[in-house]
């Protein structure tokens, strides 16, 4: 290894409000600077923004570790140490086995009908209203009507789920004001999870119930059990909500792409991948270099913090043609890294894709056009999302001037 080069440096804070509203120019600059770039505003963490290097780092989990590495700050890393997301090797594989088998596409087959029915009912109701908020009324409504039941979260406490989930993701950033405000709320969530385990207060037959059974069989400890209760909850809400909100916004701003989907609904699965590529819900996660290593020839010393930017990789012009263009028929959309990749690849992606596909399938049957109001961004250290996307939907039946579609 002839890594005598030093890493290029980037001085901008990539977590300011302005940077979170429009991160993509920063990501382009980071890609152009090199395979690994020192973020001087963030304790000299190495940003990895190119597709090949992101995939390489995610594919080498024995070097780029998740334990003590996921967040860009120590208090958050300490708080999540031991959960599936923040563990490595055998421990990670063991924890993932306890829960992930409930989330695989094959295990989700019985869920398909429930999700499709819920999506159809929701869309029918909103289309009848004509105007609604694509985030508050559509994107949030579906996962909230499915995921808490699936995980087995009791009715009491559900009103906090979205706030806690958002705080969870805010806490993973650098220790800025957003992360500082989030940490106490993560504590509330952990205390709630601990109480669930202590009281066994989860819905029968749920994922949570199977976690408690694994505890009773001695497969996981009480503490691991508490982590597992939270592990799959927070990530299953904001992410899906982000993708649905971005999808409606993208189709509203790209009406020809919606026309294409209406003409070729078999492209819906690919369109969901394309939305996640272009507006990756999770911008990126951290890793910790366990040994002296290199990324694309740039030396990375043991103990370095590495920020793996999925959202930057997904717009890398070295990998995707016209990466900033929204194309539901993009031939390599499936190669996007928005769900991560490898050992820690998103365990819930089957459920997420099922939900977003079900909503688009219901919408594509009746909606001819999305007329957007002024959308509002939700600013989070990790999640790219809208707080609201006001929309009026036009249908063949609404008598709007959509009849003379081209």
């Amino acid at each position: 290894m002839t890594t005598t080069a030093t890493a290029p440096r980037y001085d901008a804070d990539i977590y300011t409000d302005a940077a979170l509203r429009d991160p993509y120019e920063h990501y382009r600059a980071l890609r152009d600077l090199g395979p690994a770039v020192r973020l001087t505003a963030h304790d000299d963490a190495f940003a990895v923004a190119r597709y090949d290097d992101v995939k390489q780092v995610l594919g080498t989990p024995e070097v780029f570790r998740s334990a003590a590495g996921i967040a860009l700050n120590e208090p958050a890393n300490a708080a999540i140490l031991g959960c599936t997301l923040a563990s490595d090797g055998e421990r990670h594989a063991h924890l993932r086995r306890v829960v992930a088998h409930r989330l695989t596409p094959r295990a989700l087959r019985p869920m398909r009908e429930i999700v499709v029915e819920a999506a159809d009912a929701l869309v029918a109701d909103l289309v009848a209203r004509g105007s609604f908020d694509a985030v508050g009324d559509l994107a949030r409504a579906l996962p909230l009507s499915i995921v808490p039941d699936f995980i087995g979260w009791p009715e009491e406490g559900r009103e906090h789920l979205l706030r806690w989930a958002g705080a969870n993701f805010d806490s993973f950033g650098p220790l800025n004001a957003r992360a500082e405000a989030a940490l106490p709320q993560c504590g509330e969530m952990a205390a709630y999870g601990a109480a669930l385990v202590r009281d066994g207060n989860v819905l029968p037959g749920s994922l949570g119930a199977s976690v408690l059974e694994a505890r009773d069989r001695g497969e996981v400890t009480d503490e691991q059990c508490m982590m597992l209760m939270l592990d799959y909850l927070a990530p299953s809400l904001d992410t899906t909500i982000s993708a649905v909100g971005s999808a409606i916004w993208l189709f509203g701003t790209h009406p020809a792409q919606w026309e294409r989907l209406r003409a070729e609904p078999e492209l819906i699965a690919n369109a969901v991948q394309e939305v996640v590529r272009l507006e990756s819900p999770i911008r990126g996660f951290g890793r910790l270099a366990a040994e002296d290593t290199e990324i694309g020839g740039v030396p990375v010393p043991a103990g370095s913090r590495v920020l793996v930017l999925y959202a930057a990789a997904n717009r890398d012009e070295r990998h995707f043609a016209d990466p900033d263009t929204f194309d539901v028929a993009r031939p390599d959309a499936l190669e996007q890294l928005g769900f991560g990749y490898g050992e820690h690849g998103c365990a819930g992606q089957g459920l997420a894709k099922l939900e977003v596909q079900a909503l688009l399938t219901a919408l594509v049957r009746v909606v001819t056009r999305f007329e957007l109001g002024a959308p509002e961004r939700a600013l989070n250290n990790l999640i790219r999302a809208f707080a609201s996307v006001p929309v009026t939907v036009h249908t063949d039946r609404s008598g709007a001037p959509d009849h003379h579609r081209r």
Binding site: A100, P105, R106, R109, L334, Y341, G345, G350
Partner: protein, 67 residues
């Protein structure tokens, strides 16, 4: 060129089947069948198989004996 499947890792996401339906197939229970298990792939399927390896979200597929 062969493709090896790590069945412990495979969670049945089905993206390999989308890329290379002549090589990979999910059965009715959602379990993966590899039509060229332990065999060299026909040359005309190599590109599709490479694509399948590239899109496995959990890195359960591995190319063996390929440049």
């Amino acid at each position: 060129m062969r493709v090896e499947v790590d069945y412990d890792r495979c969670e049945g996401h089905g993206q390999c089947e989308e890329r290379a339906p002549a090589v990979f197939e999910l059965d009715d229970q959602g379990f993966l069948t590899h039509h060229y298990e332990g065999q060299d792939l026909p040359v005309e399927l190599e590109d599709a198989a490479r694509g399948a390896v590239a899109v496995c979200p959990v890195a359960a597929l591995r190319l063996v004996g390929s440049p």
